[in-house]
Structure formats: structure tokens, C-alpha cells
Amino acid sequence: MAVTTYSQQAGGSGGSDATRLAALIARNRRMDRVFMVGGISVLLIAALMLISLILGLVVQGASSVDVEFLTNFPSRRPESAGILAAWVGTTAVMVVTALLALPLGVAAGMYLEEYAPNNWVTDLIEINVTNLAGVPSIIYGLLALGLFLFTFGMGQWVLVAGLVLALLILPVVIVSTRESFRSIPREVREAAHALGADDWQTVSRYLMPAAWPGILTGLIVGLSRAIGETAPVITIGALTFIAFLPAAPITSAFPYLSFEWLTAPFTVMPIQMFNWVSRPQSEFHDLAAGAGLVLLAMTLTMNAAAIFIRYRLRRRGR
């Protein structure tokens, strides 16, 4: 509107150059707008797909999610099949993954950010971390199959699944650790050193508390990725039909703690869902949708927690 007025004014007083300029401006402005609409429509299509995915899961799967679904073992009869073994298995595997990935990833990230000298060894490690982040997850599965199972003689255990998923999310934890350490102002380190703290005291007592929320966010993001990973766990041969639970970690007899569950056979949520999707009967597809809903709820909760922590962090930073 404003453009038309301008061109009319210009045309009245200035002649054809001004008119052409006005037309050019109008055209550019139109292109600008067309492009913006393009960007927004791609986003809308993506949002539409997300919505239809979630709605589709709800419509097909909501009827199968109830208490029995959560407390029943899988079954050949769809009406009595449940995900008890799967969610207990997922929880057990995630505990192992978190306990392995957190110390390893934080230590490696600390080293690279605070200690590492500028030499070829550091370069080698950094290139490896970047590369590992891009290695397809199924390759990790082959690593576990060829190395853990057939070289080290481990079995299809909770421990092996937790270990391979920990290796898989290690780059995520390392990168988030490094970023949190990097965002701490230099002055904190200098002040700590000036007070007589050595490197380890500076890192553990002054930097660690400040970096902790960022590291935690990274760990949660990594775990939410690990919880949905299917391929590497299939490759090590996790069973799809498990009608028992791993042994409880706490026992009634001395020493009250049992690590038997680490070597128990298991199944996890995504494998249970994959198994049900792969069957031809539509009753099992309903179950798959139900399992998908529960899985999605788990990952979304974790993602939301991560976003929340980061949001709090940013607020505090301001």
C-alpha cells in the first residue's frame, strides 16, 4: 500500500527512474514475502507431520494402554499382551547406560577442555569424538556383537546393552561437558589458582558446580536418544519374547545387593514395539501404537526436563 503511494508521488514529480526504482523495491519486497511464506510452510508441514504422528499413535494405541498393559508380559494373544518386561528392561539398561556414560563422558570432556595440551594426541581424540558422533548406531551394534559377545564372551545381557548405548551417547555427554566448561568465565579459574588451588581442585570444586546443570542436560538428551535406540540392541540379539523379569537388585539376605540383573536376558521398549509392528495382524499394530505412546511419553518427558533445565540456566545467566 505504502509502496503504491510512493510510486505515485515519485511518478508525479520525479519521472520514470523513480517509478522503476519503486517497482524494483516492490518486486523485491514481494520476493522477500514469498520466501518467508516458503520457510513458514516447510515448518508447518513438519509440524503437521509431528501432529499427525502423535495423533495417529493416540488414535490407534490409546485403547491398549491401561494398567494391564503395563503389568502384563508379552503374549501370543494380543488382548492379554503387555509391556512389563520391556519397560523394566529399558529402565535397567538406562541405569547402566547413565552410570557408565556420565563418569566417562564428564572425565573425557574435562580433560579435553581443561587439561589437554595442544598436540597431535589431543587432535586425534577430538577427531575421534566428532567422528563417533556420526557413526551409524547399527555399527555400534556390530561392535558389541563382534567384540563383547564373540571376543570377550559376554552374553545377551542388560550390561552389554547398557555398555553399547553408553558408548553411543558418549560423544553427546563429552560435547555438552565441554560446552558447559567453556561457558565458565576465565576469571573463575584465575581466581581459584590465585587462591592456591591446583588444577584438580579448580576443576572439581569451582568449575564442576557451575558446569553441572549443562552436563546434566547433555546426559538427559543422550539418554533420551539411547532409550529409543533399537538397531544396536537388535544386533546383539536381545530377545523379543521375555516372560520374566531380571532378578531384583535388592535382596532379603546378606549382602542385600545383587548384581545378577546385569547378566539377565532382557528386552526393551523399542524392540517390543518393533516386534509388534512387524507382525501382520492389526491387533498387534494397536499394541505397537500403545508401546509407541509409552516410549514417546518417556522420551518427551526427558526432553522436556532437558529443555527446562537449559531454560532455567539461561534465565540465571542473564
Binding site: V42, A116, L142, L167, D198, P270
Partner: protein, 308 residues
């Protein structure tokens, strides 16, 4: 010097010595943790090579790379990887046709056009898309997208390469977006302001200043996206079919490299058989392809970081 102060000096000395020991020990411990990543890479290469070398003792490497039939499960076994490779490339091409234009467009929109409030809504949305488990995407491709596509292409089978390709495209889009947007944001705002001062509008600034400035980063995003598409497993394992056939037609069903590895792993894999070794041989091929893309992407990204 009094006895008291001597004792004090000795105590401080012991404390300092103990502290130095802890400091040195922690340095070594942290270094060892950092080398785990190198060990993992070494382990991957070792396992893949060991099994592949045994495999190539019974199957010639030329037949593997140029054969057009992949029938390792039949009695008359053929080990030509081209059918698996063609399907992998086809499904990745479909995914990239969605993810690269879409992702770049969204990245330009987010970095040059969108107001902060829009960004704050869109970023978590993209993270959500990235966070959905791949097995859920596979379910979506098989049971929702394929039936919808069958309305458009009535001849489309229940398994095909088109539907997992499209779903994978949306799945990779957030990744392509975030890497390219990083690159675009790294272009200094002086350049943008210069362009505005010369009378450029936002689109012209984006196309003539920001994109050329961020080109290596945008290319890196595309290449890294490609690597992800090729290695993505569950969507194709669920929705692309299991018969290896040499095809570049996205409307057909065909097994991909990751899909084949899953298919074999689901069955009973007797250790030491040729069947067991095939998954490592195709795994090695997959690893080499993605490694090549990752390395190229790594150096391109490093270049745009150094440029500014």
C-alpha cells in the same frame, strides 16, 4: 624456630605432597577416559576388518563390489552388494530431496527472517522432531504414510522406498537446519549491516551475503545429513521391505544395507558362518561410506569456524 612451627611446616608439606599426588593421578585418570573414544573407533575398525577379511577369503572382493545379485540365504548364494547399495542410495536420495531444500530454507528463515518469539517456538519443535525414537518413525512410515501414498500411487506396495525416504527426510531436516543455521549465524553481522546499508532487503542479504559466507557450513550440513540418511536403520528395516533387488525406483520395495543387518540379526546368527560374516562386510562398507562423508563434513565445518 619453635617446635610448634616446625611441626606446622611439616604438616603443610605433607598436605602439599598428597595434594600433588591427587592432582597428577586425576590428570592421568581423565586422560584415560578421553582415550576411550579412540579405543571405540579402534574396536569398530578391528571387528569390522577381522570378520570382513575372513569373508573375503571365501568371496572375491570384486564379486562383492560388482555383483548384481545378493542372495546369501539361498543355496546358490550370490554376494553382490549392489542391490543393497542401490536401495540404500535411493531411499537416502528421497530423504535428502526433502531434508536439504527444506532444512536450508528453514535455516535461512530462522537465521535471517524469524523474530525471536518465533524462534523460541520453532527450536523446541525441531528438537521434538529430532527426539522421536526412530522405531516410532518406522511405525509411522509403514502404517500411516504408505497408506496415504497409496491413494496417490495405487500401484504402490505395502513396502516401498518412497515412504521411509520421505519420513527419514523429515527426521533429518532438524539436523540439517541446525548445522546450517549455526553456519549462517557465524557470518558476522557487520556483513549483514553492510548489505542493508547498500539497500539490500532480507532475501537479497540472505542469498548474496549470508549464503555465500556460510557455504562451507551449509555444504557440511548437507553432507552430514547424507551420512545420517545412509546409516539410518529402523525406518527402512520396518517400512522398506526385505528382498534385495537392484532398483533405483522409489516405488518398489528393496532391502537396504542397515535393513539387511537387522534382518539377519533378528534370526539366529551362528558365529563363524558366512552368513554371520556378511553383516560385517556390508557393515564395513556402510562404515566407510559414512566415515568419508563425516570426514568431509568435519573439515568443511572447521573451515567455516576458522573463516570468521
Amino acid at each position: 624456630m619453635t617446635a610448634n612451627s616446625i611441626a606446622q611446616v611439616q604438616a603443610t608439606d605433607a598436605f602439599l605432597r598428597r595434594r600433588r599426588r591427587v592432582d597428577r593421578l586425576m590428570r592421568v585418570v581423565l586422560f584415560l577416559a578421553a582415550t576411550v573414544s579412540v579405543l571405540v573407533t579402534a574396536g569398530i575398525v578391528f571387528v569390522l576388518l577381522r570378520e570382513s577379511i575372513t569373508f573375503f577369503q571365501s568371496v572375491s572382493i570384486v564379486e562383492f563390489l560388482t555383483g548384481t545379485r545378493w542372495t546369501p540365504l539361498f543355496t546358490s548364494a550370490h554376494f553382490g552388494v549392489l542391490p543393497l547399495l542401490s536401495a540404500t542410495l535411493t531411499v537416502s536420495a528421497v530423504a535428502l530431496l526433502v531434508a536439504i531444500p527444506g532444512g536450508t530454507l528453514v535455516a535461512i528463515y530462522l537465521s535471517e527472517f524469524a523474530p525471536d518469539r518465533v524462534r523460541e517456538v520453532v527450536k523446541p519443535l525441531l528438537e521434538l522432531l529430532e527426539g522421536i525414537p526412530t522405531v516410532v518413525y518406522g511405525y509411522f512410515a509403514l502404517l500411516f504414510v504408505t497408506p496415504v501414498l497409496q491413494l496417490v500411487f495405487p500401484q504402490l506396495g505395502g513396502f516401498n522406498l518412497l515412504s521411509p525416504g520421505l519420513v527419514m527426510g523429515v527426521m533429518i531436516l532438524p539436523y540439517v537446519t541446525s548445522v546450517s543455521e549455526d553456519a549462517m549465524r557465524a557470518v558476522p553481522s557487520d556483513l549483514r549491516e553492510g548489505a542493508y546499508a547498500l539497500g539490500f532487503n532480507r532475501l537479497q542479504t540472505a542469498v548474496r551475503v549470508v549464503i555465500p559466507g556460510a557455504l562451507s557450513g551449509i555444504t557440511a550440513a548437507c553432507i552430514l545429513g547424507m551420512s545420517r540418511a545412509i546409516g539410518e536403520t529402523m525406518v527402512v528395516a520396518i517400512a522398506a521391505g526385505q528382498n534385495a533387488q537392484l532398483t533405483f525406483n522409489p516405488l518398489e520395495a528393496a532391502a537396504t544395507i542397515p535393513g539387511y543387518i537387522v534382518q539377519i540379526s533378528l534370526g539366529d546368527v551362528p558365529h563363524g558362518t558366512v552368513k554371520y560374516q556378511t553383516i560385517f562386510a556390508v557393515g564395513l562398507l556402510l562404515f566407510l561410506i559414512t566415515l568419508t562423508f563425516n570426514v568431509i563434513g568435519f573439515f568443511l565445518r572447521r573451515r567455516f569456524r576458522e573463516a570468521y
